[in-house]
C-alpha cells in the first residue's frame, strides 16, 4: 500500500471503487432479502392473523341494549313509561384545540361558553371530569355534561351548534314514573348499573347488560328485572380511528323487555294514598279471593324519578333525614306491634282450642292481675267493660278478656296458631326485601340470645383473623420496608458513585448491605464527604422520607384500618357480653310476656302485609291465597297477556267453619253495632249496600303512665303517639276486598285508621259497581238502608249466638244479618253504650314494643314466672 501512495493510478482507483461497489451491493442485497422475507412473512404466513387485527381495528361489535318493558296496572293504565330525554354531551376529540393548549384547557373554555346557555351544576361538572379522565384514551367517547335538557335548552344549543364544536345533544329513553309518590314503594326505581356491585350476577347476565344504562334498583323494577330488561342485541359497526361510525350492520337485534301488568288498581292506590294524607303509614288492599294486591301504599312516598339518573346528595339527605323515613317501603318491611287487631285471631284460637266457649263470660273491671304480681295490666278503658263474652270482647276490644285468654292459651299454642296465619314468616309477595316480623314463642328470647352468641363468635373469629392478618401484614411490611430501604440506598450509592465521592468498591459494598450505619461510619472517616453528605441528605430527612414512603402508604393505611375494626368489634363484644352476664333471666320467657302478647304488644311484630294476608284468610274462612302483584305479562312478540294464576298458599282446614263464621260475625259487630262497636262510625259509609267486618287496633310505641293516657293526641310528641291500626274486609259475606291499615302515630285505631278503611272500601265498591270512585249514594237512602237492616235483624241475634257452635245453617243466617245480632248482644252485656270512641289510648302496663331488660317493669313480671 505504501508503494502505491505516491502514484495516482486511475485504473487502480476505478477498480477499488468497483470492488467497494460490489461490497455495497452485497450489503444492499442482504437488506433487500430481509425486506422481501419480512414482506412474505407478514403478507403470506401471517396474513390471516393481520386480517383479524385489521378487522378488530375498524369493525367493532357493539351492544344494542334492549328497551325496557313498561308497567301497567290491572286496568291497563300506564304506570311507568320510557320517555325520550335529551342529554348534553361533549365529544372531547372534536373540541377544536391547538397544540400548545391541552385538551382539558380547551374543554374548560368550551364549558365556560356553554354555561352561558345552559346551567351546569356542580355535581354534573364533577361527574363530567370523572368520566372524562376515565376515558382518557378514548376521546371519541361522548361524555354527558348535563342530563334532561328542557326544550328551551335544546333549542338554545341546537341553534349554536356551529359555534360549539364538540358539543352534541343526544336523545335517550329515560324511565319515567307517572305516579311518583303513591307507587314509589311498589314499583321502585331503576338506577345506573354497577357491574362490580351486582354480586350474584353470572358472566352471562353481565354480558346481557352491555350498553344498558339502567337496572332495576328496588321494588317491582328489581323483582321482575329479568322480564322487564329483555335481551341485549349485537351490532357490527364500522368505525374509523376517531370512532366515527361509517356504517353499521345489525347482526342480532335486541329483544325488548316484556310489558307487565300489576294487580294494583291505580285508582284505588291513589285513593288510599290520598286518604292517608300526611301521615306515615301503610294501606294494603287485597282481593281475598285470589290474593291480588289491589293497593299497596307506603307513606310517605318519594319521587323515584330523582333516582333514575342518580339522586343528588342534597335531595337524598332530605329524604334520609326525614323522621318519617320516606325511603322505607314499610308495607312490606315495616314491623309493628299489631295491637288489638290480633284479637280476632285469639278469639278464633279460643274457639279452636276450646279455651273459652263463645258464651263464656269474663268480668272486666279494667284491671288484670297475674297471681303473685302486684302490678296490674290495665284495660284501655279504666272502668272496664263489665261482663264480657267473646263477641263483646272483640266488639269492645276488651283487653282483660284477652289477658285471661292468652294466659290460658299459653305461648306455645299462641305461636302455633298465629304461625298458621303466616305470622313470623314472609308472605312471599313478589317484592324484594320482605321482612318476616316476630312471632313470639317460648324460645324466642333464647333464640335471640343464640343469635347474639353467634354474632359474638363471629366478631371474635373476625378479630382473631384480622389480628393474624395484620401481623402478617406487619411482617410483610417490615420486609418491604427493608427492601425499600435497600433500594433507596442502592439508588443513592449509584448517585454517589457518579459524583465520584466513593470508589466503586466501597459503593458496591454499601449498596449490598444497605446499611446506613456503614455510611455513617464512612462519613465519619472522611471529613469532606461527611460535610457534603450532611448537606445533601441529613440522616433524619432520609428516615422521614422512608417513613413517609412506606409507613404511611401501606402500613398506616391498611394496618390501622384493620386495627380499628378489631377495636370496634371487641368493644361491641364486651358490651353485649356484659349485658348477658348481668341478666341470665333475660333469656327466659315469662307469663308476663305472654300477657302482653295477648293484646298484640310486646314481643310480637308483624308487617302490614302479613296483617292484610291474615285478614284476607279470615275473610276467606281459612283459605290463604298467595299475595301477589304480578297480574299478567305480555307473551313475547305479541300483545296477548298471559295471566298469573292465583295460588292457594294453604288451607286452614283444621278450624271449623262455624268458628270462622263466629269470628266474622264478631268483626262485623265491631263496625255495625251502633254506639258500641269500636269502629261503628264507619258503618254509615257503606250506605247499607254491604257489610264491613273489621277490627281496630291501637298499639303503643312507648310505655305510658296513667297520666299520659289522659292527654290529648296533639299534646303528645309525634313520635310517642300510638299507632292506629285497622283490619277489615267487605262485603262480609262474600269478601272482595281485605284491607289492613297501619297509621303510624295516628292515635286510636277507630279514629286514625278505621275511616280510611271505610272510605277505601267504599271506593272499591263503587269501582266494582262501575261507578266513579268518589260516588256518593243519595243521602236519604243511606240513612234508611242503615236503619233497615238493624231493625229487621232484631229477632235473629239470639239464634245466632246460640247456634254458632252447632249448626251451619244458623251461621249462614247470622252471616247475612249480622248487624242485628250485634245490636242485641250489646245491650245485654254492656248496658250503657257511650260514644267514647275519641282518642282513648289503651293503658297497658307494659306496652313497650321491645322487652328491655333495663327498665323497671320487666323485673316485675320476671319475679313470678311459671
Amino acid at each position: 500500500m505504501n508503494r502505491l501512495d505516491n502514484i495516482k493510478d486511475h485504473n487502480i482507483e476505478a477498480r477499488l471503487f468497483f470492488h467497494r461497489t460490489i461490497w455495497m451491493l452485497i450489503f444492499i442485497a442482504i437488506l433487500i432479502t430481509i425486506i422481501i422475507s419480512r414482506q412474505i412473512s407478514l403478507q403470506v404466513y401471517n396474513h390471516a392473523q393481520f386480517v383479524t387485527k385489521s378487522k378488530t381495528n375498524y369493525l367493532k361489535i357493539e351492544p344494542d341494549p334492549p328497551i325496557r318493558g313498561l308497567i301497567y296496572d290491572r286496568n291497563r293504565i300506564l304506570l311507568v313509561d320510557n320517555r325520550p330525554s335529551f342529554n348534553l354531551e361533549i365529544i372531547p376529540e372534536r373540541v377544536p384545540c391547538n397544540p400548545p393548549k391541552t385538551r382539558e384547557k380547551c374543554i374548560i373554555e368550551l364549558l365556560k361558553s356553554l354555561n352561558r346557555y345552559v346551567e351546569i351544576d356542580e355535581p354534573d361538572y364533577k361527574f363530567f371530569w370523572k368520566t372524562f379522565r376515565y376515558n382518557q384514551y378514548r376521546h371519541f367517547f361522548s361524555v354527558p355534561i348535563k342530563r334532561n335538557l328542557n326544550d328551551q335548552e335544546v333549542a338554545m344549543i341546537a341553534t349554536r351548534r356551529h359555534r360549539l364544536k364538540g358539543v352534541d345533544i343526544v336523545q335517550h329513553l329515560n324511565r319515567h314514573y307517572i305516579y311518583p309518590n303513591s307507587l314509589a314503594h311498589v314499583i321502585g326505581y331503576v338506577r345506573r348499573p354497577d357491574i362490580e356491585i351486582e354480586g350474584g350476577w353470572t358472566e352471562e347476565e353481565k354480558i346481557n347488560y352491555d350498553g344498558t344504562s339502567h337496572v332495576g334498583g328496588t321494588g317491582i323494577e328489581k323483582q321482575y328485572e329479568k322480564i322487564l330488561h329483555g335481551k341485549v342485541g349485537r351490532q357490527q359497526v364500522e368505525r374509523n380511528v376517531h370512532g366515527r361510525r361509517i356504517d353499521e350492520i345489525l347482526q342480532k337485534p335486541s329483544v325488548p323487555g316484556k310489558n307487565i301488568y300489576l294487580t294494583i288498581d291505580v285508582r284505588l292506590q291513589n285513593l288510599a294514598e290520598k286518604l292517608l294524607g300526611d301521615e306515615a303509614g301503610s294501606v294494603i288492599a287485597i282481593d281475598p279471593r285470589n290474593g291480588e294486591v289491589l293497593a299497596l301504599v307506603s307513606k310517605p312516598g318519594f319521587d323515584p324519578n330523582d333516582f333514575v339518573d342518580g339522586i343528588s346528595i342534597k335531595k337524598y339527605k332530605v329524604l334520609r333525614d326525614n323522621k318519617k323515613n320516606p325511603l322505607s317501603p314499610r308495607a312490606v318491611v315495616g314491623i309493628f306491634p299489631p295491637g288489638s287487631t290480633i284479637k280476632p285471631f285469639y278469639a278464633l284460637a279460643s274457639l279452636h282450642y276450646n279455651i273459652f266457649s263463645a258464651e263464656h263470660i269474663i268480668p272486666c273491671r279494667g284491671k288484670f292481675y297475674l297471681p303473685g304480681v302486684s302490678r296490674p295490666w290495665r284495660d284501655w278503658k279504666k272502668e272496664g267493660h263489665g261482663q264480657v263474652n267473646l263477641q263483646v270482647s272483640v266488639m269492645r276490644s276488651c283487653d282483660v278478656y284477652y289477658y285471661n285468654l292468652a294466659v290460658k292459651l299459653k305461648i306455645k299454642r299462641i305461636s302455633e296458631f298465629l304461625g298458621m296465619f303466616g305470622w313470623g314468616t314472609k308472605t312471599g309477595i313478589d317484592l324484594p326485601h320482605e321482612a318476616s316480623g316476630i312471632l313470639p314463642s317460648s324460645d324466642y328470647k333464647a333464640k335471640k340470645h343464640y343469635g347474639l352468641l353467634k354474632k359474638y363468635n363471629k366478631f371474635n373469629s373476625l378479630a382473631v383473623k384480622i389480628k393474624e392478618e395484620s401481623e402478617a401484614l406487619k411482617k410483610k411490611l417490615t420486609k418491604q420496608f427493608a427492601k425499600e430501604v435497600r433500594k433507596y440506598y442502592r439508588r443513592k450509592y449509584n448517585n454517589l458513585l457518579e459524583e465520584k465521592k466513593y470508589s466503586r468498591e466501597k459503593a458496591k459494598k454499601l449498596a449490598k448491605n444497605g446499611n446506613y450505619r456503614t455510611l455513617f461510619k464512612l462519613k465519619k472517616y472522611t471529613k469532606k464527604q461527611a460535610k457534603v453528605l450532611a448537606k445533601k441528605y441529613t440522616l433524619r430527612r432520609e428516615r422521614n422520607l422512608i417513613n413517609r414512603h412506606v409507613k404511611i402508604k401501606a402500613y398506616k393505611l391498611k394496618y390501622k384500618k384493620l386495627m380499628k375494626l378489631v377495636r370496634i368489634y371487641k368493644r361491641s363484644y364486651k358490651r353485649e357480653a356484659a349485658i348477658l352476664k348481668k341478666r341470665p333471666a333475660y333469656l327466659r320467657w315469662f307469663t308476663g310476656d305472654t300477657v302482653s302478647v295477648g293484646i298484640g304488644q310486646g314481643l310480637i311484630n308483624v308487617t302490614p302485609l302479613q296483617l292484610a294476608v291474615a285478614t284476607a284468610t279470615i275473610a276467606n274462612r281459612g283459605k290463604m291465597m298467595q299475595p301477589r302483584l304480578m297480574y299478567a305479562e305480555e307473551v313475547a312478540n305479541s300483545k296477548v297477556l298471559s295471566y298469573t294464576q292465583p295460588k292457594v298458599k294453604k288451607v286452614l282446614s283444621k278450624i271449623k267453619k262455624e268458628h270462622w263464621d263466629h269470628i266474622v260475625n264478631d268483626m262485623i259487630s265491631v263496625v255495625h253495632t251502633k254506639w258500641a262497636g269500636t269502629a261503628w262510625r264507619i258503618a254509615e259509609l257503606t250506605g247499607g249496600q254491604y257489610q264491613i267486618a273489621g277490627k281496630t287496633g291501637t298499639a303503643q310505641v312507648i310505655g305510658q303512665t296513667l297520666e299520659d293516657t289522659k292527654k290529648k293526641l296533639h299534646e303528645i310528641p309525634w313520635k310517642f303517639r300510638d299507632n292506629a291500626l285497622f283490619v277489615s274486609f267487605a262485603p262480609a259475606d262474600k269478601p272482595q276486598i281485605a284491607v289492613a291499615i297501619v297509621c303510624e302515630h295516628c292515635g286510636h285505631g277507630s279514629t286514625g285508621a278505621a275511616p280510611i278503611a271505610g272510605k277505601l272500601i267504599k271506593g272499591y265498591m263503587n269501582l266494582v259497581n262501575n261507578r266513579p270512585i268518589d260516588w256518593e249514594p243519595p243521602k236519604k237512602g243511606k240513612k234508611k238502608t242503615k236503619k233497615k237492616p238493624a231493625s229487621t235483624v232484631t229477632s235473629k241475634p239470639v239464634a245466632s249466638t246460640r247456634t254458632t257452635s252447632s249448626s251451619n245453617a244458623a251461621t249462614k243466617k247470622t252471616l247475612s244479618t249480622k248487624p242485628k245480632a250485634v245490636k242485641k248482644t250489646k245491650p245485654s252485656v254492656t248496658p250503657k253504650v257511650k260514644p267514647k270512641v275519641k282518642a282513648k289510648p289503651k293503658t297497658k302496663p307494659k306496652p313497650k314494643t321491645k322487652p328491655n331488660p333495663e327498665t323497671e317493669e320487666t323485673p316485675l313480671i320476671s319475679e313470678d314466672d311459671i
Partner: protein
C-alpha cells in the same frame, strides 16, 4: 483497465433521434423513464394515502415538476463545475442550517424549516447532497486508498452538519447525512482494518451511549418496542409500527384493492402519506405491488451504478456512487421501519412519500447523476 460493465454505458448514444435530443439536453433517458414511472406510481398511491385529497396530490405534482426542472438545470452543469462549486455550497448552506435553530418554524417540537415567504425551506435536506459532494471533492484530491489525515478531515465534514441537524432535532435526516458521508468514505476505499476498528468501537460504545442523554427517551421507547412482543395492543410507543404491520399483513398477496385499504381509509395507519406510504402500497396492492415497487427501485439503482462505474474521474465516480447508494439505503431503512424491523425515525420513502424538499433534493441528486453521465468525454 476496462470494466466489465463499461460496454453498457454508451448505449444511449445509439438510440433514435428523440433520445439523441434528450441526450443533447443532458438527460439520461433510461433513468428519466424510470424516475417518471416511479413518480407517477407514487402519485397514484398518494391519492389513496391522502384519503383521496386532490389538493395534496396536486401539490405533489407541482413539487415534482419543480424537481424535474431543477434536475434538468443541474444536469446541464458539467461535473467539473460542480466540483468547483462544492466547497462554496457546503459552507454557504451552513448559515441557514445554524439559523434554523433560532429562526426556524417549530413543528412538533423540532425546528427544521426556514420560512422564506414564498416557500418553506429545509436546510438539512441540502446536506444530503452537499455532504456526498464534499466527501467526493475531498477524496478526489487525495490519493486512494485514503490516508488517516483525510479520514479525519472527512469525519469533520460529516460531523458538522450531522451535529447541527441532530440538534434541531431531526434524527432521521442527521442519520442519513452521516451515512451518506460514510458511504462516500467506504467507496473511496477505506481500509478494512479501519472499518473493523470502527465497528468494534461503535459496538463498544453502544451501551454507554444508550445510557447517556444523547438518545431521547421517546427514541429509546421506539427502539425497545422492536424487542418486545408487540402483538397485542397498538398503543403508545409502538402504535405506529404496530398499525403499519397490520396494514402490510392484512394486504395479503394481492392486496385489498386501490382505495380499499381499511387501515388507510379509516385512518388507523399513521403518517400514511409521508413516512408510511409503503404500508399503503402493501395494503392496497399486496405482495405483488410491494415487489413491483422494489423492482422499480432496484432498476434505478442499477442504472445509477452503471453511471457511477462509467464515470471518468474520481469525483464523479464517488459522487454518483454515494448518491445512488444513499438513495437505495434510504429506501431500505424506510421500508424496514415500516415493516417494524427498525425503530421509527422520521424518514420519508424517496420518490413516493409526500414532501417537497425531499423530492427536490432527490431530483437534484439525480440531476448530478445525469450530468455525470452526459458530460462524459468519449475515449
Amino acid at each position: 483497465m476496462s470494466l466489465p460493465l463499461g460496454k453498457y454505458s454508451s448505449f444511449s448514444q445509439e438510440s433514435p433521434s428523440l433520445k439523441r435530443f434528450l441526450t443533447r439536453m443532458h438527460l439520461d433517458v433510461p433513468l428519466l423513464l424510470l424516475l417518471i414511472a416511479t413518480l407517477s406510481a407514487g402519485l397514484v398511491i398518494l391519492y389513496s394515502a391522502s384519503q383521496q385529497s386532490a389538493s395534496i396530490t396536486i401539490n405533489q405534482v407541482i413539487r415534482i415538476a419543480v424537481g424535474l426542472l431543477l434536475m434538468w438545470l443541474i444536469a446541464m452543469v458539467p461535473p467539473a463545475t460542480l466540483k468547483r462549486w462544492t466547497p462554496k455550497i457546503f459552507i454557504a448552506f451552513l448559515i441557514p442550517l445554524i439559523l434554523v435553530k433560532y429562526f426556524g418554524i417549530e413543528v412538533k417540537g423540532a425546528a427544521r424549516w426556514l420560512d422564506l415567504g414564498l416557500f418553506r425551506f429545509q436546510p438539512s435536506e441540502v446536506y444530503k447532497i452537499a455532504v456526498p459532494m464534499m466527501i467526493a471533492w475531498l477524496l478526489a484530491e487525495a490519493r486512494l486508498p485514503i490516508r488517516i489525515s483525510h479520514i479525519i478531515l472527512a469525519l469533520v465534514i460529516i460531523g458538522i452538519p450531522t451535529y447541527l441537524v441532530a440538534e434541531q432535532p431531526d434524527l432521521g435526516t442527521s442519520l442519513m447525512i452521516a451515512i451518506s458521508g460514510i458511504i462516500g468514505i467506504f467507496l473511496a476505499g477505506l481500509q478494512w482494518r479501519l472499518i473493523l476498528l470502527a465497528i468494534v468501537i461503535i459496538a463498544g460504545s453502544a451501551i454507554p451511549i444508550w445510557n447517556s442523554d444523547l438518545i431521547k427517551d421517546y427514541q429509546k421507547e421506539r427502539i425497545k418496542t422492536l424487542f418486545v412482543d408487540s402483538e397485542d395492543d397498538c398503543r403508545d410507543a409502538n402504535y405506529q409500527s404496530c398499525q403499519s404491520a397490520i396494514a402490510i399483513g392484512s394486504g395479503g398477496v394481492y392486496g385489498k384493492g386501490y382505495l380499499n385499504g381499511t387501515q388507510t381509509k379509516h385512518g388507523f395507519l399513521p403518517e400514511k402519506h409521508t413516512d408510511f406510504i409503503y404500508a399503503v402500497v402493501s395494503e392496497e396492492f399486496g405482495l405483488v405491488g410491494a415487489l413491483f415497487t422494489l423492482m422499480l427501485y432496484l432498476l434505478v439503482l442499477f442504472r445509477g451504478l452503471l453511471i457511477a462505474t462509467a464515470a471518468q474521474d474520481t469525483f464523479s465516480r464517488l459522487l454518483a456512487g454515494t448518491l445512488i447508494f444513499m438513495f437505495i439505503l434510504n429506501m431500505c431503512i424506510n421500508i424496514l421501519m415500516v415493516q417494524s424491523l427498525l425503530p421509527v425515525v422520521g424518514l420519508p420513502l424517496p420518490l413516493l412519500s409526500y414532501g417537497g424538499t425531499s423530492v427536490i433534493t432527490l431530483m437534484a441528486g439525480f440531476g448530478m447523476l445525469m450530468s455525470i453521465q452526459t458530460h462524459r468525454k468519449l475515449i
